[in-house]
């Protein structure tokens, strides 16, 4: 029932009414523990220096943007493993087309977004029309993109003009432009999911495709749409990365593990891998947790392999805590 008992805390009620996902508690704990460890074992910059905080967020921008798209496809009970190579193809194609010439920017940007639409459309069509499992479909598309870019480009290719670097390094006041863009993408993602017909249908398809179909939702279109949006976020991530690196290389996507990390942050954020449940704000917390961990590990000089172990453990811990929670609720 919706009525809440008087014994329930003010915090619980408020957090439910404005839908704060439990992952935010996790985020705060991660931040405090990291800050404390940093205070004791290192120079204590995390808690005292706001520039570090901004830096944590900037480091999360590329993952954050693509994670919004990943959240959408996962809510639709699909998945996209091709985002890493979509990021790569965006990075190399845009710097290849721009070749340092500001006049080419208006050509390069529509071109890479066009590529994004084609990739998303291909993923969506393979999943809905050929009925290939999304995991395999997007893995296949991912390999195709990888083959194409590796055959054409082997290293840094072209460069972006100085003006384009504004995306990666510009600031409005003291806030980096990239953070504003990422937050804007999250806001758009939230709006699409929570406030549009498309979003409502996507939750329907992900929750129970048969129910959605019998209610009159055109399920195929919804899935294809989600995949196109996801690929477009990957393109935007790619553009951000190339503006930071000044030149695109075919390994930027896979080296950043954007495919698996975007899935991991989505799931940590409370979006169900089975679809139909979740949202972008949880994903934002997941992305920030990853950013904080990275920064802390760097500050403390943690061995990179140990870093991976810790990260893996945290993913498992977070997701396990949800399942236990929901089992308790069900009982």
């Amino acid at each position: 029932m919706t009525t809440t008992t008087a014994t329930e805390s003010w915090f619980k009620r408020t957090s439910r009414s404005i839908h704060i996902p439990p992952v935010y508690i996790f985020l705060i704990v991660t931040f405090l523990v990291s800050g404390l460890l940093d205070q004791i074992l290192s120079d204590g910059q995390i808690l005292t220096n706001p520039a570090i905080m901004l830096n944590i967020i900037v480091r999360s921008v590329a993952l954050g943007i693509v994670a919004v798209g990943q959240t959408m496809v996962i809510i639709g009970a699909s998945i996209d493993l091709s985002v890493a190579f979509t990021i790569s193809i965006t990075a190399v194609m845009s710097s290849y087309i721009m070749l340092g010439d500001p006049a080419k920017v208006p050509i390069a940007i529509p071109a890479v977004f066009g590529i994004g639409i084609i990739i998303g459309l291909a993923n969506g069509l393979i999943i809905t029309k050929l009925k290939v499992n999304p995991f395999i479909a997007t893995l296949g598309v991912s390999l195709i993109i990888k083959g194409i870019i590796n055959a054409t480009f082997s290293n840094y290719t072209g460069s972006v003009p100085k003006s384009f670097e504004y995306f990666g390094y510009g600031k409005i006041g003291s806030i980096p432009v990239s953070i504003i863009i990422m937050l804007f993408v999250f806001l758009v993602g939230w709006f699409i999911l929570a406030r549009t017909k498309f979003g409502a249908h996507l939750y329907g398809v992900g929750g129970n495709a048969e129910v959605a179909r019998l209610s009159g939702v055109r399920t195929d279109r919804v899935v294809i749409g989600a995949h196109i949006l996801c690929s477009l976020t990957a393109v935007l991530s790619g553009l951000f990365l190339v503006s930071q690196m000044r030149s695109g290389a075919p390994w930027v996507g896979p080296n950043g593990l954007y495919d698996l990390n975007s899935i991991a942050t989505t799931v940590i954020g409370g979006t169900a891998l089975s679809g139909g449940k979740g949202g972008v704000w949880g994903t934002l917390a997941g992305v920030l947790i990853f950013g904080i961990l990275d920064t802390t590990f760097n500050q403390l000089g943690v061995n990179p392999y140990l870093k991976m172990v810790l990260r893996g453990a945290i993913i498992i811990l977070a997701v396990a805590s949800y399942t236990i929670r929901s089992k308790k609720e069900a009982a």
Binding site: T2, G199, A200, G204, N208, A212, G276
Partner: protein
């Protein structure tokens, strides 16, 4: 007596025009005639119950009316206009709403989102959530439950009854003229059933035709005005409730001759000592379970759907262990906490759901047969102790025992017929040397010839001194096979009947008449 009941279908046409009418509907599935020339009329403001045993064709008829199936022949009229549906959505838009037994809602979405899924109020693709919530309240008001259910509540936070109300709200938001409900009371408590009864009368006053399928005659008599009885795909009769008693309806539902040969029942010398004794056992579903199972007998367990038949098997086998009470096996008190424990105590469970619980469909026959042997023995003991050769010999031996017809034991189980699959399950338990067998619906989905084979095999098991507990929804099977019959109702054992009791006796006990009245009532029914 029961034959004198007026059959409405033979009466002169009523003045009112029916909301919906089906004429000469037939539907065949491979091997069965699910519906055979059924004609029915449903009138506005009327509640019409469709009853019958499992496989009588009730669900098929409802699925045809709501567009989920297309009939092989026959026509349907809605408000005098001929209609045919190729998709449930078409029926929905015409005003025929169906609520299935399993819920069709999105648990993680709000009530308003569920009611208006695919019909959200929006401008340029942007939702008007306030309007949706307001409209949802309007729909809930029509049902008189706007105070109970908030449009912004998550469906997963609602009780089963409230979820059902949301489904009904969704159905009537389509401006439904006909509302079909499949077993609407199955998951509800008594007070919730009262609520549903009120709701249905409210919908009736609005001129809606309410059709519902139920196994529970008590509720049929509470809710319906007309009752249609189907049997084996044929329409037996449509009666007006006030003209009949529950036992009349039971008489119409059953009373069929045994349609195939059953092996002779056990003789007193077959029966031995008590092998399994359950006393005062209960758990979250079942309460107060008491019975004894003897060596060499088939103890049949009958009961309506949802009476706790399957749960009894699952509890005995440790899938859903008993929490209180005691269980004695061969005079020794045991606690079966999980299936592994049951198997170690030489119990076997042939499940109702062969495909998902009984077999690994993509594994060869060989591996399926050896599954239980392997699960109870130490990981490598088969290989170490007896050598691979013995397990190689075991498989053909088992195959011979259960008379499985296959060219190779390496064939994947999924390619076998239902009858042969069931024989593999049986072989699996024979291999584990079980001496108490629990069968849940042993012949569901099996052709007639294999059915007889399975029945012979069950009887052969008891001749070897094995004790069999057989749960079945098919009364002929219960009567044909059982040396004693337990009848379940409302999650407890309602009583015990002797071998060869009649279908009426079993049904009357299953619908909740006290057992001392049975003979009396059966005598009344039996006059015909």
């Amino acid at each position: 007596m029961a034959n004198d009941i007026d059959d409405i279908n033979t009466k002169p046409a009523e003045e009112k025009q029916p909301t919906m009418e089906v004429q000469h509907i037939s539907k065949r599935f491979p091997g069965v005639v699910a519906l055979d020339d059924v004609s029915l009329q449903f009138f506005p403001g009327e509640t019409h119950a469709v009853v019958g045993e499992n496989g009588a064709g009730k669900s098929t008829l409802m699925k045809i009316m709501s567009g989920a199936y297309t009939p092989d022949s026959g026509t349907m009229y809605l408000g005098g206009e001929k209609v045919s549906f190729s998709h449930p959505q078409q029926a929905q838009l015409k005003g025929i709403a169906i609520i299935y037994q399993e819920f069709n809602l999105l648990p993680e979405r709000t009530v308003a989102h569920n009611i208006f899924l695919a019909r959200e109020s929006s401008r340029l693709g942007t939702l008007n959530i306030q309007k949706m919530n307001k409209d949802a309240v309007e729909v809930l008001k029509e049902l008189g439950v706007e105070k109970m259910i908030s449009p912004t509540a998550l469906v997963s936070n609602l009780s089963v009854a409230e979820q059902q109300l949301v489904e009904i709200a969704k159905a009537i938001s389509f401006k439904a003229k006909v509302l079909i409900m499949d077993e609407p009371t199955a998951a509800l408590t008594y007070t919730e059933v009262d609520l549903l009864v009120n709701l249905i009368s409210r919908l009736k006053q609005k001129g809606m035709s309410v059709i519902f399928i139920s196994h529970r005659l008590r509720e049929v008599f509470d809710i319906a005005e007309k009752i249609t009885v189907l049997k084996d795909g044929k329409l037996i009769k449509t009666v007006v409730k006030k003209d009949v008693t529950p036992s009349d309806v039971v008489y119409l539902m059953v009373g069929r001759t045994l349609d195939h040969y059953f092996p002779p029942l056990g003789t007193p010398e077959d029966f031995g000592e008590v092998v399994l004794k359950v006393s005062n056992a209960s758990n979250q579903i079942l309460s107060d379970i008491n019975f004894e199972l003897r060596r060499g007998e088939v103890l049949g367990v009958a009961g309506l759907q949802g009476s706790g038949r399957t749960e009894l098997a699952q509890s005995l086998f440790g899938v859903m262990p008993f929490k209180t009470g005691s269980m004695e096996l061969h005079g020794k008190s045991i606690a079966v906490k999980n299936p592994a424990k049951a198997i170690k105590n030489r119990m076997g469970f042939v499940t109702e759901d062969r495909k998902s619980e009984g077999l690994a469909p993509r594994q060869p026959i060989r591996d399926n047969m050896l599954l239980t042997v392997r699960s109870v023995q130490f990981l490598f003991s088969i290989i170490l102790k007896d050598g691979i050769r013995k397990s190689r010999n075991l498989v053909p031996m088992l195959g011979e025992q259960v008379d499985i017809r296959t060219d190779s034991f390496d064939r994947e189980v999924q390619f076998l017929s239902g009858g042969n699959q069931q024989k593999v399950v049986l072989a699996k338990w024979l291999a584990s040397d079980a001496n108490v067998f629990i069968f849940d619906e042993p012949t569901r989905g099996i052709d007639v010839e294999s059915k007889a084979g399975i029945h012979d095999m069950i009887r052969a098991l008891t001749k070897k001194g094995i004790a069999v507990l057989m749960i079945s929804s098919e009364l002929p099977e219960i009567i044909g096979m059982s040396d004693r019959i337990l009848v379940m109702a409302d999650h407890r054992i309602a009583g015990e009947l002797p071998a060869r009791s009649s279908e009426q006796e079993i049904m009357l006990m299953a619908i909740g008449h006290a057992s001392d009245k049975i003979t009396e009532l059966a005598a009344v029914v039996g006059e015909n």
